[in-house]
């Protein structure tokens, strides 16, 4: 009897007897041909008692330097926001943690109502009426939006701002190859999408036009201007006489507390990484991707959607709806292949947004604005450090160091500070050499910023001195 099973010797005898076989071996021999039977034991470590497994996993955890162990300014897509205790408590409840996708709505009203509330919250944040119940993560949500654009207008050209996160761009290219779409990249100018090049790149063959808000380098884009340019100045009045492309914005959900909602700016589809909303860093996942669109795209959305209805006695209830979009019904004609998405992570998201509340998300955004501004000016005043751009930023900004970023980061690490992301190591772009991306959350106080300035400043000075000496 292995862990978590319950078959005693007496059970086994009775069960084999009921089945009508003499042994477990016979039960398999009658089904699996000998040629494909594994005739040896799996070469894996022996099973261990619970406390030993705990000790092993705990030792592995101890070999990681987490945000608990250093003063970290890492961001670039995932952020060390505080996760309130009620989020942990609620997502650990058996009733939310252990059910499958709600195929039987009568006994899944809790999960379905959470999806409905989540969709409402995302709709409010994005200013777009039609939200699904979650996708895998931010980058794959962008790719899913591009696929929806192709289903919508049949065109195959994607115009994407170079302000997209490198992982988003790479994911988009992988998917686009499958969809039979091409990606055309529009460069940045002064830290934001080059408006002239953007307008120029979007033509009558363009299926989707995609930008990030704020962009990968932290800059707030003029979303309304980018949308208007993509649409040739007015609804239905597309570039070069064609129909409008689908305008897709990959937005940061915390920043959306204070930034103009994509829906207000003429954006058709807003997607993004949901991790900042009450989800752990977890070394990159699981988190969730959010996906919201204008009403006209409702029947082409990917993934699950919860809808309101009534039961036979007239009670309000919720069901998975518009399922004719989905793989289990529509098969090869489905709008996506998503089956399992990120329901529990989306629950964390809506609990977090309820915890922040209507005013709290604005207060958080304003606090981040003030601290980020303070940190940016403080750091940019250090010799050998300058701003990469002067655009408005919310909680993340890019600096250019007159020193080797990897070496500077190593020096900082020795002092217990992780000053941010080495952008070139992530993007592979030559023009990103020397660029450091610094992210704040509400967990980083003024004192933390002062310490970052001291440690980073000293590291840059030391590196430059060494470079001169060499």
């Amino acid at each position: 009897m292995s862990r978590y099973t319950a078959i005693t010797a007496a059970d086994l005898d009775a069960m084999l007897d009921a089945i009508g076989v003499d042994s477990v071996r016979e039960m398999f021999d009658r089904q699996i041909p000998p040629a494909v039977r594994l005739d040896r034991a799996l070469e894996l470590p022996d099973g261990q008692a619970e406390q030993d497994v705990y000790a092993h996993l705990s030792q592995l955890a101890a070999r990681n330097t987490s945000a608990e162990d250093e003063l970290s300014f890492l961001g670039a897509g995932m952020y060390d926001h505080y996760v309130p205790a009620i989020v942990d408590m609620l997502i650990e409840r058996s009733e939310f943690l252990t059910p499958y996708t709600p195929y039987q709505p009568e006994i899944s009203q809790g999960g379905l109502q959470v999806m409905f509330e989540y969709q409402t919250a995302i709709s409010e944040l994005t200013g777009l009426p039609a939200s699904n119940a979650s996708t895998y993560d931010g980058p794959s949500a962008v790719a899913a939006a591009a696929y929806m654009a192709k289903l919508h207008n049949g065109r195959t050209r994607i115009v994407a701002s170079a302000g997209l996160h490198p992982h988003t761009m790479q994911t988009l290219r992988t998917y686009a190859h499958g969809f039979g779409m091409d990606v055309v990249e529009v460069a940045l100018r002064d830290g934001v999408t080059d408006a002239a090049a953007w307008e120029e790149a979007i033509d009558a063959e363009t299926s989707a036009a995609i930008f990030a808000q704020p962009n990968f380098y932290g800059a707030v884009e003029d979303a309304a201007a980018l949308s208007a340019a993509a649409k040739g100045g007015g609804e239905g009045d597309g570039p070069v006489g064609g129909a409008n492309p689908v305008v897709i914005c990959q937005a940061d959900p915390i920043a959306l507390g204070i930034l103009a909602a994509p829906g207000e700016c003429g954006v058709d589809v807003a997607v993004g990484e949901g991790q900042p909303l009450g989800n752990r860093l977890d070394f990159g996942g699981p988190s969730f991707g959010f996906f919201a669109a204008r009403e006209e795209y409702l029947r082409r959305l990917p993934g699950r959607i919860a809808g309101e209805t009534v039961d036979v006695d007239g009670r309000r209830g919720f069901v998975l709806t518009l399922q004719t979009r989905e793989q289990h019904i529509r098969r090869e004609k489905a709008t996506s292949n998503i089956c399992t998405a990120q329901a529990l992570n989306a629950l964390a998201g809506v609990v977090y947004l309820s915890w922040l509340g209507r005013d709290g998300i604005v207060e958080l955004g304003e606090l981040l604005l003030a601290r980020t501004h303070y940190a940016r000016e403080k750091l940019a005043a250090i010799p050998g450090i300058e701003k990469l751009h002067s655009q408005p930023v919310v909680r993340e900004f890019a600096l250019r160091l007159d020193a080797d970023v990897a070496a500077v980061r190593r020096r900082c690490a020795a002092d217990g500070v992780n000053p941010g992301v080495d952008v070139q190591a992530l993007s592979g772009r030559e023009e990103d050499r020397g660029v450091l991306l610094v992210a704040l959350t509400e967990r980083r106080s003024r004192a933390d910023i002062e310490r970052l300035a001291d440690v980073l400043g000293a590291a840059v000075v030391a590196e430059r001195r060494e470079a001169v000496a060499a």
């Binding site: 084999l16 089904q31 101890a62 509330e117």
Partner: protein, 510 residues
């Protein structure tokens, strides 16, 4: 018939947006500790929101009451039997939640330097090795986020493999018993679905396969055991035919729980496998995710694997090995999502593998198959008051024995008792069971797909068989009871047609 409302039924659904009051809150912002500045200068008005997002305005106790309250309107695996076919609803050990929550895992940033995330990388590498061993395929990418995402990776890999050889192959063969994700994935990857027929034994029709297997076929996607719960005994021949025309063989790992340590997809001839860590390796399903869908592949497909892959380097001096994320594979299909995959799921599934070991995984599969066959036998033998048996109304669709799950047909039940599989499923809710998967696979009339898993006791299986028998006996007397079920659930049958016709998918706000 029950006519009074239960307390849960009386408590009508109200969303969090309908609770609270203007000005109520849970969040307290940290103090502004930097010099106050006019933030409109930092962010000009034209870039700002006009109206605040109308998020809920509730106190912390209200949030707790609200979500604890609605959680009680869910059925879950910790509360009862959940024999949902194809979903492998096995026990979710709480140890896994405990270790995943350790700050060294939970608060580890994905862009932490490799030298300062060695524990995480070693865990991922160990998991890659374990999955390679279980599947019999040596190269693993942990990146895909769920089974269907793994499928997409697999079909894109197949495409890359053929394109790299200068071949354009458009067709992907899928049996008519395939999960819906298979054909949906094929379309997303720019290829075309060609359906394969099922033979009288429930396996692939070899003549149909031979007729359709040509130089234009890129891949055959197969689940083995398949969605009928049957192991396709012709697998070696199928592999030969598929490889004979230069195509790849893809293994949908949704049913891997039947064969761990007993038979390996790689040894069966498969080139690409996806795993559902949220099925065979017991990541809790969360009411619809998160999942995780790693893939394992053969040598010939390995150059195209999605990035990154974890690599291990042994120290020259015999010291500790080091682990790194390998990004440099020129032929890779690229990235399928941000960062490295659902690491939190890796922690849980790795803990599971370490708890069970190789023998334990094999034992899990053996008991899963034992439990399925026992439940099938119990159902078949169960006699009803009217002198008939359960099998008269719910015969096994194909085969004699089964692997980890089996598919019954509700056709005779519908004909003779005038209740459909849906009605049986709804009545099971009143008996406190989650129903099996219904109406899948599509080729079985009124299908009922039952997967008990290895973590259930014999008593539970007996009780479930008794419940099915009781419902059939009841229906023989009065079909109306099942036709109007359920009665005891927080809501009763819901109007799904109205929901789709006039979609209301968010709370209306003033």
């Amino acid at each position: 018939m029950i006519t009074t409302e239960t307390p849960l039924q009386r408590d009508r659904a109200r969303t969090i947006f309908e609770k609270g009051a203007r000005g109520r809150r849970a969040f307290v912002a940290p103090a502004l500790d930097v010099p106050a500045v006019d933030t409109t200068e930092l962010l000009p008005a034209r870039l700002r929101r006009g109206e605040r997002a109308r998020l809920p305005e509730v106190s912390e106790p209200e949030i707790v009451r609200h979500y604890v309250g609605i959680s009680k309107r869910n059925f879950d695996l910790d509360s009862g039997f959940y024999p949902l076919g194809s979903c492998t609803m096995k026990h979710n050990p709480r140890l896994h939640e405990r270790v995943a929550a350790l700050p060294g895992h939970a608060r580890l940033h994905p862009l932490q330097d490799a030298e300062r995330s060695q524990g995480a990388l070693e865990l991922m590498w160990n998991l890659q090795q374990a999955l390679a061993e279980v599947s019999g395929l040596p190269h693993v990418s942990l990146q895909p986020s769920a089974g269907s995402h793994g499928e997409l990776a697999g079909v894109l890999l197949t495409r890359a493999y053929h394109e790299d050889r200068g071949e354009t192959r458009k067709k992907v063969l899928t049996p008519d018993t395939a999960h819906g994700t298979n054909p949906a994935t094929v379309t997303m990857a720019g290829l075309e679905v060609v359906k394969l027929a099922t033979n009288a034994d429930g396996g692939i029709d070899l003549d149909d396969l031979r007729a359709k297997a040509g130089e234009d076929v890129a891949c055959l996607m197969l689940t083995n055991p398949n969605t009928l719960g049957l192991f396709d005994r012709n697998i070696a021949e199928i592999a030969q035919i598929v490889h004979g025309v230069g195509a790849t063989l893809y293994y949908d790992g949704a049913n891997l729980n039947a064969v761990m340590g007993l038979s390996r997809p790689g040894d069966m001839g498969f080139d690409i496998v996806h795993f559902n860590l949220h099925k065979s390796f017991t990541q809790p399903h969360g009411g619809g995710g998160p999942g995780s869908g790693p893939i394992a592949v053969s040598e010939r497909v390995a150059p195209y694997l999605p990035l990154p892959v974890v690599a291990r380097e042994d120290a020259a001096d015999g010291g500790e090995p080091t682990f790194s994320l390998e990004h440099d594979r020129p032929k890779s299909i690229g990235r399928l999502r941000g960062f490295h995959g659902n690491y939190g799921c890796f922690v849980r599934s790795y803990a599971y593998i370490r708890s069970l070991g190789g023998d334990g995984l094999k034992d899990a599969s053996e008991v899963a198959v034992l439990n399925a066959n026992y439940l099938l036998a119990r159902l078949r033998a169960h006699s009803l008051p009217n002198g008939r048996t359960v099998a008269d109304y719910l015969p096994l669709a194909y085969g004699e024995l089964c692997m980890h799950e089996f598919v019954l047909s509700g056709g005779p039940m519908k004909q003779e008792l005038k209740i459909k599989t849906l009605d049986l499923a709804k009545r099971l809710l009143d008996y406190g069971f989650h129903p099996p998967t219904v109406y899948f696979p599509l080729l079985v009339d009124e299908a009922l797909m039952v997967e008990p898993t290895e973590t259930e006791t014999r008593e539970t299986l007996d009780a479930f068989a008794d419940a099915i028998a009781a419902i059939l006996a009841e229906a023989a007397q009065n079909p109306e009871i099942a036709l109007s079920a359920p009665y005891s659930t927080p809501v009763r049958r819901l109007d799904e047609v109205a929901a789709a016709k006039r979609p209301v998918i968010r709370q209306a706000l003033d």
